[in-house]
């Protein structure tokens, strides 16, 4: 009895199993051959589950491969068993059934004709016009487009906020991208209207942040629009009451954000941006506001860019600036005020440069890991460690491993900084000191005591040419390395290095924070005891990676509605804009500048 119960299943000998497996193998190989017929006749290159099922069906075998799925099934292996299996995800039917974002606007199948080759020669139309040919807009999309553009460029601040938010998270607007990009390229026609410019920039920001959009080559177009805002002597800047400075600051911030998150889409983009910034900077005919834009642009691109472009250029530029600043005539008052702005921007940039450089020099030893490559090890390494915001998203192009510094070195022929050699820190410091004098020194020589540190930058910003407080220590270069533990603190909130998440924060929260930051700022310094550089950089880096991974998620599979959560405390970057904007600015102008940043969202 017991015996019978035990043998409730048939025992199959090993031999039989082997035989069965073999003959199954023969049948399978037959079916594989059959399925390839179905693939070929369907005029595809990719064999689908459906093909295989058809082959099975026609050879009188039950189809066992389940339903054909558009997505590739992830294969996983179990090491112990040398077993491979497909991972089946659980599908939340409730979520599917109640989903509100049902993909719609599935365009109709249609035939479109294009004259491709006339008399067997050449193309009549350029190759790049596929999207417009493919996407003829559905009624819904058209409506959406009209509503959105109207809301953003319209008068109702609340509507605009909603529109921007939607633009940031809508997964179905890929077809509209070219149109939005076109709208944004309209910056040139509204250069008299700061408000509109601002709104368009916000539109750029929303598009860039939308994780469902693949910007592709449109990045170039977006960047050129942003660059326009940074560099052009806008019509709006004729009136000194217009605060175009903040616009430029914001655009610069945006530029760096686009570059770090989408720079990989267009090769050589960084390079091109640097070139154009340099061109503006070296052009004395351009107005000071353009120069200012170039400086903040470089600054936003990171200290490496400053070191490469701005620093070598400084001696030549300094003469011009000095002339402006030294002219006390009444007619020159406005220009002089502008000059001060530029001066302040340069100062902020070079200070950061010095700081990061000093930091980078000290770090390589600690971080030999990624330093497998040769070259200017110190600089590259330092940059990698200390300024995570600078490194492009980890996965982009092949140069990614070497970072931007080397990208530049190897980059296109004939670029002026190709034969650029890093200037040693002391020399750099000496040179900068010769320009800025003690106003520069204050940033560094804080000594072991942290106390004065937070306050001093503030002073410096308000009054760059102000009196030197402790220039003695400033000149003692060795102290720089000795005080390295300070630098992290100073850099704990990377005020000059805009990490992309700053823009990820919803709406214009960052700007609103900016207002507070002046009060919060000093306190924050002290209340961030964990602000070690490594920790912090890791944080940003991780977020960056997370974001870029999500960047091109196909919208079919994702129903997550929230864009990148603001994991980094806003204060970390919030004060950045005012810092630049305020330099050398009469106090009374603060308020407007401040409020203009507060876009009415």
């Amino acid at each position: 009895m017991a015996e019978r119960e035990e043998r409730r299943f048939a025992e199959v000998s090993r031999e039989s199993i082997k035989l069965m497996a073999e003959s199954a193998g023969v049948e399978l190989s037959d079916d594989v051959a059959g399925s390839s017929h179905f693939m070929r006749h369907a005029k595809r290159r990719k064999l689908t589950v459906e093909d295989f099922n058809r082959a099975l069906r026609w050879s009188n075998v039950e189809a066992i491969c389940g339903y054909g799925s558009q997505d590739a099934l992830p294969f996983r292996s179990v090491k112990e068993g040398e077993l491979f299996f497909t991972e089946e995800r659980e599908v939340n039917l409730v979520e599917l059934a109640l989903a509100t974002n049902i993909p719609k606007g599935c365009a109709e199948t249609m035939v479109r004709v294009s004259v491709s080759y006339l008399d067997g020669k050449g193309n009549v139309e350029p190759q790049g016009t596929v999207p417009s040919a493919v996407q003829s807009l559905s009624e819904d999309l058209l409506k959406y487009y009209q509503q959105i553009t109207r809301a953003i460029l319209g008068d109702d601040p609340h509507l605009m906020k909603v529109a921007l938010l939607d633009l940031q998270s809508n997964s179905k607007i890929a077809a509209l991208l070219p149109y939005f990009v076109y709208v944004i390229s309209g910056v040139k026609s509204v250069s008299h209207d700061l408000e509109q410019l601002n709104r368009l920039l916000h539109m750029v920001k929303s598009l860039v942040q939308n994780p469902y959009l693949y910007l592709g080559s449109y990045v170039r177009s977006l960047v050129s629009s942003v660059m326009y805002c940074i560099l052009e002597p806008l019509a709006a800047s004729i009136n000194p009451l217009n605060d175009h400075w903040t616009l430029r600051d914001y655009a610069a911030l945006l530029l760096s954000h686009i570059l770090w998150t989408h720079g990989d889409l267009v090769s050589g983009l960084y390079h091109q941006i640097l070139l154009s910034l340099q061109k503006v900077l070296s052009d004395p005919v351009r107005p000071l506001c353009s120069h200012y834009g170039a400086v903040v642009g470089l600054h936003a691109l990171g200290w490496k860019a400053v070191e490469r472009v701005l620093f070598p250029h400084l001696p030549a530029y300094w003469a011009n600036l000095q002339a402006v600043l030294d002219d006390y005539s009444v007619s020159n008052a406005q220009v002089k005020a502008d000059g001060h702005k530029v001066y302040g921007a340069i100062l902020v940039a070079v200070e950061r440069l010095l700081k990061m450089k000093a930091l980078s020099l000290s770090q390589p030893a600690a971080d030999a890991g990624p330093g497998a490559h040769s070259g200017s090890a110190a600089g590259v390494l330092g940059y990698r460690v200390s300024s995570p915001g600078l490194s492009p998203p980890p996965e982009p192009l092949s140069e990614a491993a070497l970072g931007i510094a080397s990208h530049l070195q190897t980059g296109g022929a004939g670029c002026p900084w190709e034969d650029w050699t890093p200037v040693p820190l002391p020399a750099m410091y000496c040179e900068l000191y010769s320009f800025f004098g003690d106003s520069l020194a204050m940033r560094f020589s804080t000594g072991p005591g942290f106390g004065g540190d937070p306050a001093q930058p503030g002073d410096a910003r308000k009054d760059p040419p102000g009196p030197a407080s402790n220039h003695d220590t400033a000149r003692k270069m060795p102290q720089l390395t000795a005080n390295l533990n300070i630098s992290p603190r100073q850099d704990g909130s990377p005020r000059t290095d805009p990490p992309p998440p700053s823009l990820a924060a919803t709406g214009c929260g960052s700007q609103r924070q900016a207002g507070l930051s002046r009060d919060v700022f000093p306190k924050a310094r002290f209340t961030s005891p964990q602000a070690g550089p490594l920790v912090f950089s890791f944080l940003i880096g991780g977020r960056q990676m997370g974001r870029s991974c999500r960047g091109r998620r196909p919208f079919q599979t994702t129903f997550a509605l929230t864009p990148a959560p603001a994991a980094v405390p806003p204060r970390a970057y919030a004060h950045k804009l005012p810092v630049i904007g305020r330099v050398g600015k009469p106090v009374r102008r603060w308020a407007p500048s401040h409020y203009s940043l507060h876009l009415p969202l």
């Binding site: 035989l19 073999e22 003959s23 193998g25 023969v26 190989s29 037959d30 051959a33 017929h37 179905f38 070929r40 006749h41 369907a42 005029k43 595809r44 290159r45 058809r54 026609w58 599935c106 365009a107 109709e108 199948t109 249609m110 035939v111 479109r112 004709v113 294009s114 004259v115 491709s116 080759y117 006339l118 008399d119 067997g120 020669k121 190759q127 596929v130 040919a133 493919v134």
Partner: protein, 747 residues
Amino acid sequence: MAAIQGGMAEAVEIKDIKTEPPVDAVVNNNANDGSVLSASPGPGGSVGSTKPATGALEEKQTLLAILQFLKKNQLSESVDILRREAGLPQDLFDLKGADASSGSGGTPGTVEGGGLDANSLLSRVTSSSAAQAPVKAPPAEDQPDVSVVLSAYSQQGDPALYEVYYSGLKKFIETVLDCHRAELSQVFYPLFVHMYLELVYNNHENVAKAFFEKFSGDQECYYREDLQVLSGLTKKEHMRGNETLLDFRTSKFVLRISRDSYQLLKRHLQERQNNQIWNIIQEHLYIDIFDGMPRSKSQIDAMSGSLAGEGKREANKAKVYYGLLKEPEIELPLDDEDEEAENEEGKPKKKKPKKDSTGSKSKKQDPNAPSQTRIPLPELKDSDKLDKIMYMKEATKRIRLGRDNLPSICFYSFLNAYQGLTAVDFTDDSSLIAGGFADSSVRVWSVTPKKLRKVKSAADLNLIDKESDDVLERIMDEKTASESKLLYGHSGPVYGISFSPDRNYLLSSSEDGTVRLWSLQTFTCLVGYKGHNYPVWDTQFSPHGYYFVSGGHDRVARLWVTDHHQPLRMFAGHLADITCTRFHPNSNYVATGSSDRTIRLWDVLNGNCVRIFTGHKGPIHALSFSPNGKFLASGATDGRVLLWDIGHGLMIGELKGHTDTIYSLKFSRDGEILASGSMDNTVRLWDAMKAFDDLETDDFTATTGHIHLQDNSQELLLGCYTTKSSPVLHLHFTRRNLLLAAGGYNP
């Protein structure tokens, strides 16, 4: 094959061989006609009887085999009887006669013949009763039973020696003169396969595996796919029901070898007493012997690659009427230039006779054209005549293409075709385009501003005035006008579609095994033709309408007419799926391409296969006749286009350049340019005139028929045009020679 069947014995007498080719021819023609062969036992028997001494040796082996078998099955009585009887010379003679007849009976490559052959073979080895009375061979003659077919493999031989035999032959062939080596190397592949199968059949699994591993690497790369299938077969049981194997077994592998090379081989095998190999050559190979220079390696490579070797020369001997039918006389409007009015397909060939006047053209009859009534063709309706007039008008505006005057290309992209575009067709006047989709739907678009309209419902039709002049306009329902129409009816992907020449019908063939006829007046399905029980890969209307051909997975191409629900002809002979079907411009012939890597041309009149073209190394997915009906172009998954001369049955050109499957081929209206479209997202234009002209200077009427193809693809390539990530599924020249290409946009 009679040359071979006599065995090594007859090598002694060379004059014997010389008498054989005529016999060969008769046999092969019969085989091609599909009739069971009856003539061959005669010569076979006589050959056997003339050499009793050597024949006896073979008989003894057979007898021994039978004895072994009987012993194994413990049929001791039979053993005794056999043993006793085997001593008698009378019986021996009988046996020998049976053996000889079985050897010759197996020579035709047809299934039926194989059945007979296999039966006698079976009787020889497995059935004791038959062994005793072999002359009264088994009754069931043409039943292609799998087990019977397979049993031909059951001759026993020492499995260990197979390797020795094979490598011995290999060594021999490697040492022969260069001029013979290439020819004899052809033997390797079929030998290898059959030896392997024999080993497997006789349950020598491990030996078979070792054999496969050792020698499979030597085979030509274009056999790789077949070898992969073979490698899976390791047990006798696997062989049942395996189609590839059956193909191999039931059809003789055809080799063309020059007489000198063949004798070299025969002598070698004879010297070595290499019976195993000799048996295989006898039973499974068809060696087509020709007199003359041995072929070079490149010549052989150009022609080989199909599943069953090359086409037999005899198979391509039948006369093919490739000329065009005369165009019916049509009264043209006065202002038209009659001279330019060519026939429907725009053939330049008839241009000269037509130059003089319309009246005289009826007197001249192309000697290569079939008679006008060879197959019945539908009467021309008034609307057809109108269309012909339109065609002639258009033809006068046709652009003369050539090397320096390439056509413009328009690309029709199917956008948002997420269902999977599988087939495309244009109407001849380029006014409609149809697409077949993997979601079983068929869509028709109008590519002119004229919208597609349905005919009104019956009730509404009653209301209209039937006498009015514009009645044809009035029957159309204006409310249904739209740019495209969707046709639902199939239950599987639509793999082939074709418009009727009069634009009233559309055919579609599908995975569901049916061909459907759709009306383009009502946009409904009219008929579902059920005959293929498996996926139908392709279908096409005859250029004269009414007839259509379809072919599919069941390896049979069928000829239908639209008003019969059963096929008129079935064209059987391909060894694997028929992948594409095309009508000859004169509607008298049908070309089919197959995954057995051959192209066959069938006569619509009698259903005979009149041409077998081999040379492709992959399934053929595109065929196109030149407008003058003389040439055929074919494209395959190997990315090569081959050009064939239909009249002579020869390959006349190879166009290399594509990197992926060629899905469409089309000659320009005057036949000067050949356009090919491929999966590799390119359209290539080739100088067809040059390809054909170069050839005509050659003397290819030589009996061997082996032309040396020069590698001039680059010279002939006139242009390569890339699409925007759209595979080119269809090509069409408008009546004015504008090239239209179509495909789905696959971003």
